[in-house]
Amino acid sequence: MSQAPLFSSAGELANLVVTSNLIDVAWANIPEIQRGQAAFPCSVQPMVYRPTPNRTILVFASSPNCTQYPLPEGGDLVQSSLFQFLCPKECPSVSINRASLDLFISLQSQLPGLKTELSEWEGQLIITGYSLGGSVAALFTFYLLDSMDKKSKCRPICITFGSPLIGDFGLQHSQWNSFFLHVVSNKDPVPGLFLPSGRSPPTSSHSQTSVYKPFGTYLLCSEHGCACFDDPDLILKFLTVASSEVAEGLQLVVDYGEILRNLKYRAICKGAQLASERFAYPFSDGIVMELKTIGIDPAEQKIDTKRMEAEARTLAKETKASEAKKLNDRKKAMAQLEWYKKKAEYEKKGYYDCFRNEENSRQRNVKLFMEELTAYWEEMVAEAERKPQKERTSFRTGWLFAGTTYRRMVEPLDIAEFYKDKDSGRDYINNKRSQHYKLLEQWYEEAAKPRTREDLDSKKKKVSVLLTEDSCFWAHVEEAILSCESLRNANSTTPEQRESSWNNLVRFGEYVMKQIDNCAVSPDIFWSGSSFMTWWGEYEAYIDNFRNFYSSRLVEYMKGGGYKQYG
């Protein structure tokens, strides 16, 4: 079957941006401020405007010197702890352009107050700037976004004009990138200044400058029209071409006001050629047209439209409907596991031990559902991990509840598999536990509210349907059984080993009692034949024989039959 045609919307998105008055509003005050600034020294000043009751504009105005010669020697990248919060998982640090960072830091006395004021603002906020002013605007936008919480009614967007690239790979992965729109003309050498083939000043080292990366959406303009792209490779190529093609460009001041006026006019023009036939390959034909409009020759620049089309096709498959389907698939797998648990209970077997001792088709089926769920959750956790710190929190709260139920249902089965296999060795928690369980648990702990007495009371009433809260509970039980064994086999163990095993058992006793006090374990642990009761049998025999005088709260609880009233 032939595939459905795809389209490139870069031209239409650009047209939307240009014909709406959004960027005109962002640009409106810049020329005037620019004129009013003293040429020296190189500095940036924040200025706030409120043209309509629900719209605030924050302009970072750079002095003319700063705009035209943006980097006497500030072209290198420096690591900055200030923007560490943007770091994705796979990248240890974020590096920022020195010139922009220095200007940002020079405003340290004003920024906190500005940030507090603006994060309380209820309405649209346009943060903007020209050249280095735009770079500082972008840094400030990150700084502001980091401090805003979900409830904030402030809706920011950052629009820069002809700003140089400000950072490396570390900046590229934030979900906040959708808040950035960078306007760049093909006549403007400044944005691509730090790129290797660009006109970098000789003082800056090339090894440093080659790692600059664009982030967010770029409105790329020429005198013939414009297009909006967020593909980093393509943007880099455009910037490189622009900065190398402009002869003696550093003296040239690009008038974005004039560019915008021209683009607005172009937006309602037909262009020189009329359509003569339908397009056979709308995506590649469209993108080639868009690239030519902004002055890029796709063949010469080796633009891989096939790759772009393949990426677009992958994205096109992720619809709301397919998301709904994934969610329901997960629910089905969970229903299967719940049913397995319930069946085990009807047979008076605990969920854990049933799975541990069984070897049949039912158990094999459960393994399939386990695998499906694990694959899903590993992906979700990895995705959350990739995001910068701040976003991680909001990204995951939505599904943390479901993730916790998953962890409590599935991890015990992983533990059972581990201890069933005699070759696995010992200590599941430290040797085998999957990272995604650790993170799910850690995030749950961070998000969990402190418990009240009423919570505990209502929990007591429904203990019979509870899942054991600590998903590693059974790993502790298995270790305790192994400790008992080591004590019993006095011949093959050293006194130190036995001492350590005994200490383990004492700690385990305290741990279990705490779980019981908090109603945090399922009553099925007390069913006869469960691993826990097996442990208790061995443990009781050991203390009866060898530690007759030892007692603990758990020993009393178990001997006194208190557990029979649990649940």
Binding site: S9, I126, S178, F180, R278, A321, K325, N328
Partner: protein, 592 residues
């Protein structure tokens, strides 16, 4: 393809368009009458043409609320003009709606109209310029009332309604009753895509002074074209982004900073190219793109186009006489670059995207019908549920209660089947919300029927699952709280209610169990209050009615069901239908 335009308009007699255009112009020039009537005897047609107005207030009178003067449509008069899922009621221009209401009374009592209906003559509502919206709303009004099926012809009419308006017209199959003629550069059909502004007033004032004839040749305004078309172009680009499947995450952020016109074209459009050829377009997304792109500036200079955009608004009678008289007009149905509209390559891409979007919707429907994972799977699963229900009856408990207990293998399999069904219906629900299925999907009897069977059979299981896990403590009652009842059921219920022309919420028989459960919980919590008593009485009435029309299965009456046990335990003074329900229970017991 060569055809007469009349042929393309369902049921319109040949030769009506040209006289209708002339009458519409005449009505526009007759300020003393709300509408003019003309009988075209030899065609057995009666045309009613409405007067327009060029007062800015009659276009953007509701400006205080929004620069586009929009308002929710009056669903009392137009019950179908809304979304059957989450989209809400359609939005229309408030001033046009107000002017229509002003005309409606006189129109309904017009003896010419009554006579035409009596004699089964074809009625055509026509309107030129702002008379167009009145003709559109009048046509819609009578289509809703089903008294007769008028046709609507407009000439240079401004846009009236939003996307939901257009969607509803297509869903109801009314789209073909509306035909709008638009000259290539006429500014008026585009004007509503731009917010009300001084440019608008200039344009309207110009036409008004032409109309008043006080000033034979008023000076045309200038400089408005760039503003109006720029704003209109924003709307077209925004829609094109969607048609083209734009996945740039900045789109949503950018959109939140921009105020776009809510208005969209609906019905069939006929574009007059100016050289006698006509282009007929039925896909509303394509219409919007053509509206903008064919009026773009070409080689000729902007001032000339601007002047044309005013002049062409008055050119309809002549243009149509040329196009329709004598030789048959060339009519293009497909998007064809040779159609004389002179479109740019970018416009061509937009039209191809609009066409592909429509194709995709049809493919999605076809897929649901024929792919084993959709309709066929729904039917298989429903069959399983039916068997489950039958078997549960034998145990004298009913499937609601045995499902709630989740004791047997069968209960578990029913649960998995419930989730399988939820998956498919949720997917369909999402597709509908995103307009990824044909507009008339929710009107198709096959899906209304399938959905209703599903809702009645399976929603009780969702309710059982909800109360089994005490989810009411987290989200609130199943029926009342928004997050609780799955939307798929609400939508499907809405389809049926709309189909049967019943009030919303009147077909909630599948919620019976939720009412029972919630009453039980509320009585435990609050005790017996008057409010509880009223709810019990309502429940009893619902039960009797639903058992009566078989929309609720009588296994709720089984001796051991939650309902019977609960109802029996109620104090007698709280029941109003004690004897009848007792009887029903006894009959059920005897019958099994």
């Amino acid at each position: 393809m060569e055809e007469t335009v009349e042929n393309l308009i369902i049921g319109l007699n040949d030769g009506v368009i040209s006289p209708a255009a002339s009458l519409a112009m005449e009505a526009h020039n007759s300020p003393s009458k709300l509408f003019l009537v003309k009988k075209i005897r030899h065609l057995s047609v009666v045309v009613l043409a409405f007067r327009g107005s060029m007062l800015p207030n009659d276009w953007f009178g509701q400006r205080g609320h929004s620069p586009f003067g929009e308002t929710k449509i009056d669903t009392g008069k137009f019950p179908s003009v809304r979304s059957l899922n989450d989209g809400g009621d359609a939005v229309v221009n408030g001033s046009f709606l107000w002017r229509f209401n002003d005309v409606l009374d006189k129109l309904s009592h017009a003896k010419e109209l009554k006579k035409a209906i009596e004699k089964k003559r074809q009625v055509v509502f026509a309107g030129y310029s702002s008379g167009g919206p009145i003709a559109i709303l009048a046509t819609l009004y009578f289509l809703e009332n089903q008294t007769f099926s008028p046709r609507c012809l407009t000439f240079g009419s401004p846009l009236v309604g939003d996307r939901i308006f257009s969607h509803a017209l297509r869903r109801e199959g009314w789209s073909d009753y509306f035909t709008h003629f638009v000259m290539k550069y006429d500014i008026i059909p585009r004007i509503m895509l731009s917010p009300s502004s001084t440019e608008h007033e200039q344009i309207l004032n110009y036409f008004k002074s032409k109309l008043d004839r006080k000033n034979i040749n008023p000076a045309p305004p200038s400089g408005f074209y760039l503003t109006v078309m720029g704003n209109a172009s924003s709307v077209a680009s925004y829609e094109a982004c969607h048609l083209m499947g734009c996945r740039n995450p900045s789109l949503d952020i950018i959109k939140s900073f921009i105020e776009l016109s809510p208005y969209r074209p609906s019905g069939t459009y006929v574009f007059c190219t100016g050289n006698g050829n006509l282009v007929v377009v039925k896909n509303p997304n394509a219409v919007l793109q053509i509206l903008i792109h064919c009026a773009e500036l070409g080689e000729s200079d902007a001032a000339e186009v601007e002047k044309r955009s005013l002049d062409e608004h008055s050119a309809y009678p002549n243009e149509l006489k040329d196009s329709l008289g004598g030789m048959k007009a060339v009519v293009y149905l497909d998007v064809d670059p040779a159609n004389d509209l002179g479109l740019s390559p970018q416009a061509m891409l937009c039209l191809q995207a609009a066409e592909e979007f429509e194709n995709r919707r049809s493919r999605n429907l076809e897929n649901i019908r024929t792919d084993r994972n959709y309709k066929e799977k729904i039917e298989d699963q429903l069959e399983k549920q039916r068997k489950y229900k039958e078997n549960a009856q034998i145990s004298r408990l009913g499937y609601y209660d045995s499902f709630k207990l989740q004791k047997e293998d069968a209960d578990f399999h029913a649960n998995v089947s419930r989730l399988e069904l939820a998956e498919i219906w949720d997917e369909i629900k999402e597709m509908l919300k995103e307009f990824e299925l044909p507009d008339d999907f929710e009107k198709k009897p096959e899906f209304i029927k399938l959905g209703t069977i599903y809702r009645r059979l399976v929603e009780p299981l969702d309710i059982a699952n909800f109360y089994r896990h005490s989810k009411d403590k987290e989200t609130g009652a199943y029926v009342i709280s928004r997050g609780a009842r799955p939307k798929r059921y609400r939508f499907i219920q809405c389809w049926l209610e709309h189909h049967e022309k019943k009030l919303f919420g009147s077909r909630s028989e599948s919620l019976f169990w939720a009412d029972v459960e919630q009453l039980g919980i509320d009585i435990e919590k609050k005790g017996y209050l008057q409010e509880i008593k009223d709810r019990i009485h309502q429940l009893e009435r619902n039960l009797i009615a639903c058992i009566g029309d078989r929309s609720l299965d009588d296994d709720v009456l089984l001796e051991n069901s939650t309902f019977v046990k609960w109802w029996r335990a109620l104090p007698l003074e709280y029941k109003s239908q004690s004897d009848r329900i007792d009887n029903l229970i006894r009959e059920k017991a005897a019958g099994v």
